[in-house]
Symmetry: D2
């Protein structure tokens, strides 16, 4: 932690800061410039958490030199993590494809999709049973009934299954039916939910919040991991910007940034990022090329009939073709697919 | 709802749309331009929710002409709502000041603050017992113990009390101690929590999400109200932008926009919006001048010792002076204070 | 300037940095923490401009502790500046109202507007003769003919006049007709134009760029002032965000931020910020309450007939009423109006 | 153009709109819904430009159904354009690599870079002679001297050359020395400069503005093309968002969006988009995978000594390796490289 004093700060203001630091059992290093004095703090800075140094007299700003997250930090875990979900690995040697409908609508819809995505090459079936919808009057999901269809689909196809959870109660139900939990963008900073997901024992896919910074996202992952759950996968799904020609703006550079900051796997959701079927294939290729560990893609037997997010869903044929086209990109990235 | 076809769309594509509309029991109005054909839909558009017209062949875009929220809409409730909390009103004839510490830290801290803000003119005591913090290693709040102090402060001072809730369990506890619940920015689209708050019976202050549009915010209020709870107050607290000289960017124009779209009261939180003590007073005056029904201001006996958000908290003296300075602005706005 | 090394940086990497600093005639202060070493640089940091320390081995980040602008910095000019334009002052004791049509359309339109805004209390007539329009097929302005009408309006009414300039040629023409030049948002970082405006000898109103940070804006003002022109006024006109219910998002907190960073006067343009006539009056009051030195307001004899930005223009009556309503706010702010 | 009336608009307000439309020689189509009446306009909507229908009584909003740009619109030119620059093509069958230093610093620096990038596979040499810098105290470029080095580099290596221009005067000089002009992000809406570039006769690379929408960008291209210059290439270089871990946020989806809206070639600048050397290679691969027609990459003989943007520049070795790694991606995209 570095404390930068205001230009021309009085010696007494500087000494005040030094005293606060020492009173907390830490060491202060002074660096006096022509215009500005800087105080470096050596030691465990959490000891200062009860002293709001930022508003002591003549303090200009505080610069943190270490991140607040620890378990997710690559510094403390230099090797890429591999997350095991049943017999499937998510990590640096695999291209993991999660596919399925935005919302589970019926057993037939889910099973036919499961068969199609399995055949094309997906290893995970996705499907929403609890749908967070902007309006209370939109379709809210089949809940436990939907989860039962997920279980049936897993039994028939051998696919791993993943489902979004939106409350503690949904977690309690979902753990009985699926292999992996998803925390959606709107709940990325629902810290109570993150803790519950951490305690669930299941691996967790954590989507980036609508306008979350990468550091906030990694701190959210830390909430899950600090409950003892090390099986976290991050999912970039676009951020909110002023541009409206896509539903969100995919932050593709987030993938290499994350690869530098954390050891956790990172996948990309081109469907929510763009919101437009025609853009899903090119953006999927870009995601694999940039180094993503996988993709989450919306697929529906009849996008024109979907109850949720139809415009961005691929048909079975589209998806089959996309998987074919992705194979050489996976191969260039040294990933099995 | 209006459906705009792509330029040069084939008659068969247009007829396909018309058929879908009619099959759902609605009326279609055709408007054929030189380049573009437009189809207007007359009737209850929710009947079309299972037909993804947007991805039918040669459809360019869909324009919705009515909002998806109803109970919060001023169109269906032209008069300004007044929210009664105990003997206190929040609405067009009052300037409501909610003040107190970001986090409740001790009984003495809370009581001394309650006395000071009461004396200065506040009618509500705010204080956080459940703190949603970016890092799991930051102070997370005193929980029920803090709520007990809130109750004691109410008993001594007669102030109304408000506290943020972050889970169903927190709601169940809070209803026993406080007069009003607050849903924070990070939970604005935690729809399960909104429904629980709606069922709680207490009035609810709903803060705007970090990057929520005004329409998303009004739909979130609709979630609460559709549970039968009509006592909702909105709180603008700044949105996320690229500018970093303030913690968030206060969207001051949101106040007149909301006044046009909804009948609910709107208050402004200058403390979280700016994050800087020196900006709280000027921004508070602006909020009153623009038409806000109240303010939520952080006040702390010793901002330099605060466990949370000290840099933006006012001292008792600062707050007393601010209230004095606000009086003529309240008066110009025709509000009691 | 502070250089933060990566955690566990090798001593040789630190020594490399120290050597670069010393080789440039500067002093390095080392601060070795448990995890991180920090190097403070004392002396004129521009000497380091040819050494990209940021990419030397094991450097994590660079923190600048002083701003890059000087003449606009309040640190070097603690008193508020007063800009004299003819017999009119823009500064802390006055509320300056600039009003007029977005685009000059005819002599009659401009003269009638000039008379109306003068009568209501404006001291400046604004009007666009060179219009930067998104599409090349929109009305582009009357150019020199429009400027002649500006001169005629000044002669008749005694109002000061201000006009946007978009090229060196426009500046050369405008100096013959108007009292003050305006650099628009789209040209805020057209550095060649800024330098020309600096050389023109006329006072300059510098609007904030569409998505400019406050620091970029102050650096743009520095371009003008470093040509020897000290008469610069800043104009906040809203920034680009994801919110679409207003044309831009007025960054009202920018006013107190600027008051802290610079001595230059700051005015607010509620018309471009909101883009909606109904929001101009409340936002204008907020701007005065927050401490702005003036307003720039669009007024048109017949907004429904305006060639540019009609929806945000006030009628003469609207504007007259707004000025009446602003008087007590000006008075509270200690400003003549 | 569609005009949406407010809910419950009076018949007289609707008739007023119909009259305005007819008075301008156009046809109005009425569509009366349960709550809302919609008026479709048939005919050349520019005839309505003098009638601000948006502020006529009880009009809610206007929806434009056709874009304001024409020559850049793919609708009127369905085939991909190929831009010829000397013996080099930019278009769908080629991967065009433009490489070189951010700023030209010396003849030796430029020539050595030209040789290195030519050897690696670039066909264009980039280099800044006129540098738009945030601060007036930063290095501003060698101007005409730098252009002479560009000409020398072209003569020796046979590379095509491209240089940013920031004023009419810079254009007049540059046309004597280089093959292609670049309009930078800060000048994307400097409409006077766009027109001059249009008249120059040279092909133009138009970078996206810092916070420009795709529609504004295409309208800026229309300014150039409406001067008779059909040789325009678009360059995505990242947009401004709240995320700070990269210099800008690369909007990778903009590539497929543009491919749908326009026939012009699109290239990507990974150096300015990310601002970090380590991210340039992965992002370059993503750009090729998503369908870009080329890349613009900063290369410097000694990034640590660069006068501008060193942290994002590749060394000769880095760049050579990147080109090797890009070859299979170019091949998958069916492009010569």
């Amino acid at each position: 932690m570095i404390i930068i004093m205001k230009p021309g700060a009085k010696p007494s203001s500087v000494q005040n800061i030094v005293k606060i630091i020492r009173d907390n059992g830490l060491t202060a290093h002074l660096s006096e410039g022509d215009q500005v004095t800087i105080v470096g703090v050596v030691g465990d800075k959490t000891r200062l958490s009860q002293s709001n140094i930022q508003i002591a007299p003549e303090v200009d700003k505080i610069v943190n030199v270490t991140e607040s997250y620890k378990i997710v930090n690559r510094q403390f875990h230099p090797e890429d993590s591999v997350i095991h979900v049943g017999n499937t690995d998510i990590g640096p040697h695999t291209l993991t494809i999660m596919a399925g409908p935005c919302a589970i609508e019926s057993e037939e819809q889910l099973l036919s999709t499961a068969r199609a995505v399995k055949k094309a090459g997906a290893t995970f079936l996705r499907g929403g049973a609890y749908k967070p919808r902007t309006s209370p009057y939109s379709f809210q999901g089949l809940e436990e009934e939907g989860l039962r269809y997920m279980k049936a689909a897993r039994e028939e196809t051998g696919l791993r299954t993943i489902c979004e959870v939106t409350s503690q109660k949904a977690i309690e139900t979902a753990v009985k039916y699926v292999d992996m939990l998803q925390i959606g963008a709107r709940n990325m900073q629902n810290f109570e939910l993150l803790k519950e997901a951490g305690k669930s024992g299941l691996p967790v896919l954590l989507k980036r919040g609508l306008a979350a910074t990468i550091d906030e996202w990694l701190n959210a992952a830390e909430y899950i991991m600090s409950e003892g759950n090390e099986n976290v996968v991050l999912c970039e799904r676009g951020i909110r910007t002023y541009e409206t020609s896509t539903r969100n703006t995919l932050d593709i550079s987030a993938v290499p940034v994350l690869k530098q900051k954390t050891h956790l796997p990172v996948i990309v959701d081109p469907s929510h990022a763009t919101g437009v079927r025609a853009y899903v294939a090119p953006v999927s290729k870009a995601a694999v090329a940039v180094g993503a560990d996988g993709l989450m893609v919306e697929v529906h037997p009849c996008p024109a009939c979907a109850l949720s997010d139809g415009p961005q869903s691929l048909t079975f044929d589209d998806f089959g073709q996309l998987c074919q086209e992705l194979k050489p990109y996976a191969s260039l990235a040294g990933r099995e697919f």
